[in-house]
C-alpha cells in the first residue's frame, strides 16, 4: 500500500485531529479515551520481532534462528521488522506506531506465572499484590457509570490486570455472552459482604449485556477481519465497540509465544496473525471514528533469551520490545535497544525502561490521572502519547 493511499484511508478520523475543538474533546481525561491491551501470552521473542540486524552479537548468539539481514524490513537505526510484520509498515510510516524497547523490571523472574503476575499487579519482583493495576485504578477513580463496563476481556478466561476491582466482563463472542448473561440475576437487597460481592458481579454482567446490544442492527464494517483466532478476537472487540458500548479498556490476547522449540515457523505465523489482526483493528477503529482516541498497547510476561537453545528455539528471557499504536501515538523508537554484549547472569539483557513507566504513560498522559497512587511510586511517563 502506498503511503498516500494509506493516509487517504484515514478519512474523517484523521481530519478530526486537525480540528482544534474536536481534538480537545479527545484530550486526556479519566477513561475518556480507550485503551486496548494486547497480551502476547508465553513471552514474545522481541529480538526476532524488532531485529538488530546490524549487531554481530545477534548473529553469533543465534546461528540458526536469526532473521537474515536481507529478510528484515528496515525501520532505521540498524533495526528492522520480522518479515511477517510487513502489514504494519504503513502504520510505522504514518508515525502511528511506537516501538518501546528494553521494557522490563529489576530482579526479573523467569517463571511465566510469577512474571505475568508481576506485570498484572504492577508489583516489584519480590512483592505480592493481589489487585491488578487497572483494578486499582478503577477502584481509586471509577470510570463513568454509563459505560457498559470498565473493561471487557475478549477471548481469555483470566482477567489479569483487572483482577480484584471494577466492572469487568469476559466474553469470547457477544451473542454467547448475551445468552450466558441470562443466567445472571439483577441485584436485589444485598446481604453480607460475600453476597453483596456476588450480587455486584451479577449486576455488572447484566448491565454490560444490556449495553452490548446484539439484538439491534450490527455495525456494518467494511473492514475484512482475518480468519485467524486472533482475527476473530479483533472482530469481537470491534463488534462490542460497534454496538455503541462505551468502555475504558479492552483486552485481547494471542497465545503460543512460548517458543522453546522449532521457533522460526511458529513465530513467523504468530507475528503474521498479530500484524494482520492489528491492521484490521486499526481499520475498524477508523470506521468507528475511534482511532484518534484509542491507544493499543502490547505486553507480555517477558521476552526471550538472546542465545538460541538446542531445539531451534529460545528460553525464557527478561526485557522486551512492545508495540503502542493509535491515532494519537507518537510513532518511532522509544527506550533503548537491548545491549547484547552485556547480558546478566541468566544470559538475558538488562532492561532500560521499567514497565511501570508504560503504565504511568497510560494513566497520566492518556487519561490525565495520577499514577503514583496506582503504581505505589513515581514512574516517569514515556513520550509515546502525543
Amino acid at each position: 500500500m502506498k503511503r498516500r493511499d494509506f493516509l487517504g484511508g484515514i478519512g474523517a478520523a484523521g481530519l478530526l485531529g486537525l480540528m482544534p475543538g474536536l481534538a480537545a474533546a479527545a484530550a486526556a481525561a479519566p477513561y475518556r479515551r480507550l485503551l486496548i491491551l494486547v497480551e502476547l501470552k508465553g513471552g514474545n521473542d522481541g529480538l526476532n520481532t524488532l531485529v538488530p540486524y546490524t549487531d554481530s552479537n545477534y548473529y553469533s548468539l543465534r546461528p540458526r534462528i536469526a532473521i537474515r539481514g536481507e529478510e528484515v524490513l528496515p525501520l532505521g537505526e540498524g533495526l528492522g521488522f520480522h518479515p511477517s510484520l510487513q502489514p504494519l509498515l504503513p502504520l510505522w510510516q504514518a508515525k502511528e506506531l511506537a516501538l518501546l524497547q528494553g521494557v522490563g523490571y529489576p530482579g526479573p523472574n523467569l517463571s511465566h506465572f510469577r512474571s505475568i503476575e508481576i506485570w498484572d499487579t504492577a508489583s516489584n519482583s519480590d512483592e505480592y499484590l493481589q489487585q491488578g493495576w487497572l483494578a486499582r485504578s478503577f477502584l481509586r477513580q471509577p470510570p463513568p457509570a454509563a459505560y457498559a463496563a470498565d473493561a471487557v476481556v475478549v477471548g481469555s478466561q483470566d482477567i489479569g490486570p483487572f483482577s480484584g476491582g471494577g466492572r469487568v466482563v469476559a466474553l469470547s463472542n457477544p451473542e454467547q455472552f448475551s445468552r450466558l448473561a441470562r443466567l445472571a440475576q439483577e441485584g436485589g437487597a444485598s446481604g453480607g459482604a460475600a453476597l453483596a460481592h456476588i450480587r455486584r458481579v451479577e449486576s455488572d454482567i447484566v448491565a454490560a449485556a444490556a449495553k452490548i446490544n446484539t439484538s439491534g442492527p450490527a455495525f456494518a464494517f467494511q473492514t475484512g477481519f482475518p480468519q485467524s483466532g486472533f482475527g476473530a478476537s479483533v472482530r469481537t472487540a470491534c463488534q462490542v465497540l460497534g454496538s455503541g458500548a462505551d468502555l475504558a479498556v479492552l483486552r485481547l490476547s494471542l497465545s503460543g509465544f512460548d517458543t522453546h522449540q522449532n521457533q522460526p515457523g511458529i513465530h513467523a505465523n504468530l507475528l503474521r496473525q498479530l500484524a494482520e489482526g492489528l491492521v484490521a483493528l486499526r481499520s475498524a477503529l477508523v470506521e468507528l471514528k475511534l482511532w484518534e482516541r484509542t491507544l493499543v498497547l502490547s505486553y507480555a510476561e517477558f521476552g526471550r533469551r538472546p542465545k538460541e537453545n538446542q531445539s531451534n528455539g529460545t528460553d525464557h528471557g527478561t526485557s522486551n520490545v512492545h508495540f503502542a499504536m493509535g491515532g494519537a501515538v507518537r510513532g518511532g523508537f522509544h527506550g533503548e535497544p537491548p545491549n547484547l554484549a552485556r547480558l546478566d547472569a541468566s544470559g538475558n539483557p538488562v532492561f532500560s525502561v521499567d514497565y511501570r513507566r508504560v503504565y504511568a504513560t497510560v494513566l497520566e498522559r492518556w487519561w490525565g490521572m495520577d499514577s503514583r497512587s496506582v503504581l505505589g511510586a513515581g514512574f516517569e511517563p514515556l513520550a509515546f502519547v502525543v
Binding site: 505480592y128 482477567i159 466482563v169 469476559a170 445472571a184 459482604a193 460475600a194 458481579v201
Partner: protein, 429 residues
Amino acid sequence: MMRSIRFRNSFMKLLMRLLAGLLAAASLSVVAAPASPPMGVEDARHLLSRAGFGSRPGDLAAFSQLSRAAAIERLLADTPRAAVLPIPPELADYQPPAKLRELSDEERRDLQRRTGIALRVWWLDGMLAAESPAEQLRERMTLFWHNHFVSSVQKVKSARLMLDQNRLLRQHATGNFGELLHAVGKDPAMLVYLDSASSRRGSPNENFAREVMELFTLGEGNYSEQDVKQAARAFTGWSIEPATGAFRWRPMIHDDGEKTVLGVSGRLDGDAVLDILLAQPQTAEHLTRKLWREFVSPTPDERDVRRIAARFRGAGYDLRVALRELLGSRAFWAGENRQTLIKSPVDFVVGSFNSLGMEPPDAAALAGLLRQLGQDLFAPPNVKGWPGGESWINSSTLLTRKQMAERLLRREGREDLRQVMLDPAYQLK
C-alpha cells in the same frame, strides 16, 4: 379447636418424652450428661458444608439426628490415614533431573503434561471418593495445608514429589501441626519449591527461612530481617538426593556456627529453629486466624482467636483441639456467620456433586474446570497460595460456574433445582 387439642396432645407427648429422658439419664451412670437435642437439617448442612464439600443426602439425614457436639466428635474421630487411592502408574517412578535432561524438550513437556494430569486426577478422585464426613474433613484439611505450605508443580517440576507432599499433608491433616511443620521443612517438593535444596553454608538461600516465618508460622511483623538471615543459616544442609528425590541431610554444607533467632542463641539447626517458632504464641494465633477464615467467617474475632490459640498451643498443637474449639464455638453456629464464606471452586464442583448425589464426569474434565475457575490444584499462583474469598468470583468465573450448574441440571433432568443453583446465594456456604 381441633388444632388446640392436637397441640395439647403433642405437648403432653413431648413432656412425657422429656420426663422419660430425664428418668433414663438419672438411672444411667453419673458421667452421662443429659442428651443434647438433635441439631436438625439446617445445622447439619451448615456443619457438613464447612467441614467437608457440600453434604450428601445420607450424611445430612444421619448428622441431623446428632447433637452438635456428637457430630463434631464424629468428624474428628480417627479415620484411616493411609493413602486413599493407589498411586497411578504414570506417577509410580520418580524421574530424576538427570534423566529428564536426557529427554528432548518435546518428550519432557509431554511427560510433564501426562504426569500433571494424572496427579490432579488422583487427588480429585480421592476427594470425590471420600466416603464419610470425617474423610471429607481430612481432604478439606489436606487442601487447607496445600494452600498453607504452598508448593507448585510448575516450579517443582516433579508430579511424583508433589504427590508425596500431598500424602504427607493428608497424613498429618488433622494430626499435630508441629510434627507437620517439621516434616514439611524436609519435604522434597518444599525443598525444591523454596530453594532449600540449593542452600549451603556461606551462601544460604533465605527463601524458606523467610516464608516459614511470614506465612507458615508467625505471620508478618513478628520477626526481623536478622531473624531471617540467621534462620537461613540454620536450614542449610537440608537437601535432596538427586537420584531418588528423597530428603538427605548433608552435614558438609550445613552452617553449624552460633546463631540467634528470636532471642534464642546456640548452634541452631533447622529443627531447633522450627521449635523456636512453635514456641511463639503468634504462631498459634496466626494458624487459628487462618483456620477461622477457613471454617467460621472472613473476620476472625480476636478474643476468640487468642483463647483458642492458647488451648491449641497448650495441647502441643493438636489440630483436633483447634478444630473442636472452632467448630464448637458460638461464632461457628451464629446466624450472622452462616452463608458468609464464598465457595472455592473445589467446594463448588465437588460439593455440588456430593449434595446433589450426582455421578461426576471423569476427574480430568473436572481438573480442567477447576483451572478455569481459578483453582488449578497443585499449582497455586504463588507462595501465598490462592487468596480465596471474594477473589474467587469475577464475571468470568461466575458465568462459568452458572454454565456448569445449568449443564448439570439439564444432564440430570433436575430443572426443579434451577432456582437454587442459579441463585447468587448458591455460591455461599
